[in-house]
């Protein structure tokens, strides 16, 4: 629906976008016993790691091939080999997830060839999966890197011709979903008697649990053996358009049909997902889910008053944008400004007049008279300068607790989102009333 425009500026001011390798390595965080590694100079890893630590408030086991000026000239194969051997010796990971950066890709290195050679030379690596995603940082953004990594995970690991398991279903999870979202999705799928293989499953590794020991890889997440068995599933549900390519790979290899769910936030969107689970499982919708649907209906009835005709400025990666803009317009709000990071087929599905590929400065210029600003944490200062309420969504969220546990899918997630954003509108309206009456210190009425 939306027309896509590019920012007219040459200089990016207050970036919205984070890098492809960071997105790719984040996807590898969703595999169990994994060590994500950037094939790049060490600083790339340090920045990426620090940002993830600040977002999740968890230790992040990233590594680097530590390229320098000389190895950039001579080629990165030796560094790659040394890094893989060092990591294996120290941490014995089940998977090493390798994401390249611009330095490596601009040199046109044949990493697949390098990996083949390294394997031949080192039979001791036999038990370790080496999965490489091409993620140059001069192209795309976080979401593109995530999608590229998931695509190579299935390309490298899914095995053909294993037969069918009538209870097994694949869930490919886009980067717009939080650990809390994945937990909700798993519970829902299991409520229909289906066994989901969620890839990647950051709910297993990044849900903020306290373990009894310290390991140097990821702890929890999708098992490599489960990925190998994904060809046995009855269907693949691709959550987010970014997951469509990976779903196609599984279909082509194992004849597993796929369905794409561009959004899971909102009544009708989740209805659609629930109906699919009922269809695939052949089971009726459980009473507890019906009850939650009813709660959401009530929340929409109570909450819509505060959303109608509200003007929203939002900046988010494409698939998150689809879900949030859909949710807001479902309740009668209108989108004044929508900014995103990179081009994507998802943008065509954003219910707004236009979407700009740009930065937080583009958002700031267009958001002057809006009622609400939505973006990742860097938008807080934009909202502050404009003096409008702010809602945090996306990555990174470094200035609030609980990023992993923000739920926005399903009946429950949508219900809570109505309350959370609706309360921001109510608070702003009250504030306005009191200002108008000259009673700044007057107590805020409770609703």
């Amino acid at each position: 629906m939306a027309s896509v425009e590019k920012s007219a500026k040459t200089c990016t001011i207050n970036p919205l976008k984070t890098s492809q390798p960071l997105g790719g390595a984040s996807a590898f965080m969703g595999l169990d016993g994994c060590l994500p590694m950037l094939h790049a100079a060490q600083g790339c890893t340090a920045f990426a790691l620090v940002l993830l630590v600040r977002h999740y408030r968890e230790a992040i086991p990233f590594q680097t091939t530590a390229m320098n000026e000389v190895t950039t000239i001579l080629g990165g194969k030796d560094n790659l080999e040394e890094a893989i051997l060092n990591i294996t010796k120290r941490a014995s990971p089940k998977v090493i997830g390798i994401c390249s950066n611009g330095l490596i890709e601009a040199r046109g290195e044949d990493i697949r060839g390098d990996l083949k050679l390294i394997r031949q030379r080192h039979p001791e690596l036999e038990g370790t999966a080496l999965v490489y995603a091409s993620t140059p940082d001069y192209k795309g953004g976080f979401q593109d890197g995530w999608a590229a990594a998931v695509t190579v995970m299935v390309e490298e690991l899914v095995e053909p011709n294993l037969g069918r398991d009538p209870h097994q279903i694949n869930i490919l999870a886009g980067c717009h979903l939080t650990p809390a979202d994945l937990e909700e999705i798993r519970d829902t799928v299991e409520a229909f008697g289906l066994n989901p293989i969620i890839l990647p499953d950051i709910a297993g590794s990044l849900d903020g649990h306290v373990a009894d020991n310290w390991v140097q890889t990821t702890m929890g997440g999708t098992q490599v053996n489960d990925i190998r068995r994904m060809g046995r599933s009855i269907a693949t549900l691709a959550l987010g358009l970014q997951m469509e390519q990976a779903a196609r790979v599984i279909e082509a290899r194992c004849d597993v049909p796929f369905e794409v769910y561009p959004r899971l936030t909102g009544l009708l969107a989740w209805d659609n997902f629930i109906a699919a689970l009922a269809r695939h499982s052949g089971k009726p919708v459980p009473a507890s889910i019906r009850r939650r649907r009813s709660q959401l209906l009530d929340a929409m009835l109570d909450g819509h008053f505060y959303f109608g005709h509200k003007k929203i400025a939002i900046a988010a990666e494409p698939d998150l944008l689809v879900g949030l803009v859909g949710f807001l317009t479902d309740l009668g709000a209108s989108i004044t400004a929508a900014v995103t990071t990179t081009d994507s087929p998802a943008l065509a599905q954003v219910p707004a007049d236009r979407v700009m590929i740009g930065d937080l400065d583009d958002l700031e210029q267009a958001a002057g008279d809006c009622d609400l600003l939505i973006s990742h944490s860097h938008g807080a200062r934009v909202a502050e300068r404009l003096g409008i309420p702010f809602f945090r969504a996306g990555f990174p969220l470094f200035d609030r607790l609980g990023a992993a546990h923000k739920l926005s899918v399903g009946y429950r997630g949508t219900r809570d989102l109505i309350f959370e954003i609706g309360n921001l509108f109510i608070a702003a309206d009250n504030h306005y009333h009191h200002e108008a009456e000259g009673g700044k210190d007057a107590p805020v009425a409770s609703h």
């Binding site: 040459t10 940002l51 230790a59 890094a83 310290w214």
Partner: protein
């Protein structure tokens, strides 16, 4: 590429660590051992350069490179400003695949033009990064042309990440200040008590915890390099009477060359802890008097130190009993490893270990002497060993940076941030009070007994 230019910087006669090396080791560069692929952590030269220059608050800092360099890192430090906020704006050329093929110089020039037109900053710093360095973008020439065209200094910072570690980037940024900024303008007035602080970035307001002390002593902080600095202050730094390097040898090239060029003596000191703060103030006063300030400055300094030490003792008295004998694991960078030890000893705490992985021999010896038999210096502590130590309750609290935070927390051990991401100022007398109160608050939080209680069905 830029290797030959760097050789000069690898030979730093004033740097103790550098002096200790033989000829071959020196050629390999600074920042310790070369990095091991698959077993490395820490920031790059670009990161280091930005740490030094970004606190210049009225400057525009433009990063020429792909989105990773700025998009993943912007506005993430707590170097505070008392005025301008432009330094917190993230500017980057965010180069595309086409730029990689055809070169990014035109894009860079246009980006500079947009910033100059829209913001008219007193200066634009342009940072080179790995990819744009590799494709051969000549940022020096672009900056030169832009300087002429737009009538404001556009300064190249040639410290792409792959030339070395963070420490090396700070030195490269120091060279940028020496070659393009310091000494380019004259102050309107000078006084016999003008000083500079080098390597103080006003993290969480550290600088503001010591500036009131200078004011009370009648000492003028001519330039802070670069915490809460304005560009036109840094240009005039060459007229100070003394340079104090705060807590680090990172800018020793700047200190030494300022001494060579303008005869400004320098010393290394710290504002962490009561003792170190006193020593630093005494040294400043002594050098200023030697260089022509009124002799009474020394007496004023002694009086202030006595009054402040008494105040600190009174304010901390209520919590000292709780802190006494508590064991601390200190895992932090460089000189802080010894300066923090004395701050902790003040409260009768026992430092069982202190990391000295980036420290010089002298710093290491200093830390070892301070800890005596109670603790040891640690060059490298793998996270699983750190976890085991903490899980065995060998320390009551760990002070470290954000990266190792979760090792402590997952081991159910109290933790306090002592690095640049922290939110409290720990410098000076007020900072010492803040630090010890923060440790006390953390140690006495009731949460520890709860989280260490096993679930009833597991007991």
């Amino acid at each position: 590429m830029s290797q030959h230019k760097h050789q000069d910087l690898f030979n730093e006669p004033a740097c103790a660590k550098n002096r200790d090396k033989d000829e071959t080791a020196r050629k390999k560069g600074c920042g310790g051992k070369s990095l091991t692929p698959g077993n490395a952590a820490g920031g790059c030269a670009f990161d280091g350069a930005k740490i030094v220059l970004q606190p210049i608050t009225d400057a525009a800092h433009l990063v020429h490179g792909p989105i990773a360099c700025e998009g993943n890192s912007w506005d993430s430090r707590h170097a505070l400003s008392s005025g301008p906020q432009l330094y917190r704006t993230g500017f980057t050329t965010d180069i595309s695949e086409l730029d990689v093929i055809y070169g990014g110089e035109k894009r860079l020039f246009r980006a500079i033009k947009e910033i100059a037109t829209r913001y008219s900053p007193p200066v634009i710093f342009v940072y080179q990064t790995c990819v744009t360095a590799m494709i051969g973008d000549d940022i020096e020439t672009v900056c030169k042309v832009a300087t002429e065209r737009f009538g404001l200094p556009v300064i190249p910072v040639n410290a792409p990440g792959f030339v070395g570690k963070k420490n090396f980037g700070t030195k490269l940024a120091g060279e940028v200040l020496l070659n393009h900024v310091i000494g380019t303008e004259e102050p309107e007035t000078t006084t016999p008590t003008d000083i500079n602080l080098l390597g103080e970035y006003n993290v969480s307001g550290d600088l503001w915890a010591v500036t009131p002390l200078f004011q009370r002593l009648g000492i003028r902080l001519l330039t802070s390099i670069t915490g809460d600095a304005r560009y036109h202050q840094v240009t005039k730094a060459h007229r100070a009477r003394v340079n104090m390097m705060v807590c680090s040898q990172a800018l020793i090239n700047v200190a030494r060359k300022m001494e060579e060029r303008w005869g400004i003596p320098y010393f290394e000191g710290s504002f962490y802890g009561v003792e170190a703060t006193g020593t630093s103030l005494r040294t400043i006063a002594k050098i200023l008097v030697e260089r022509g300030a009124e002799a009474v400055l020394v007496d004023r300094t002694e009086a202030l130190i006595a009054a402040e030490e008494a105040r600190v003792a009174t304010e901390l008295a209520p919590i000292l009993a709780d802190l006494k004998g508590k064991k601390v694991l200190l895992y932090t960078g460089v000189v802080k490893s010894w300066s923090m030890i004395s701050a902790l000893h003040y409260a009768g705490m026992i430092v069982i270990g202190s990391s000295t992985r980036k420290a010089t021999k002298e710093d290491k010896a200093r830390a070892a002497a301070l800890m005596g038999d109670e603790g040891e210096t640690i060059d490298n502590l793998p996270q699983r060993d750190m976890y085991r130590m903490l899980k065995n309750r060998e320390a009551d609290i760990m002070l470290s940076g954000g990266r190792t935070q979760f090792v402590a927390l997952k081991a159910m051990t109290p933790w306090l941030d002592s690095n640049q991401e922290r939110h409290n100022a720990y410098a000076g007398y007020d900072g010492t009070i803040t630090l010890l109160r923060a440790i006390h608050k953390e140690l006495t939080n009731p949460v520890w007994t709860q989280v260490r209680t096993p679930a009833p069905w597991e007991a």
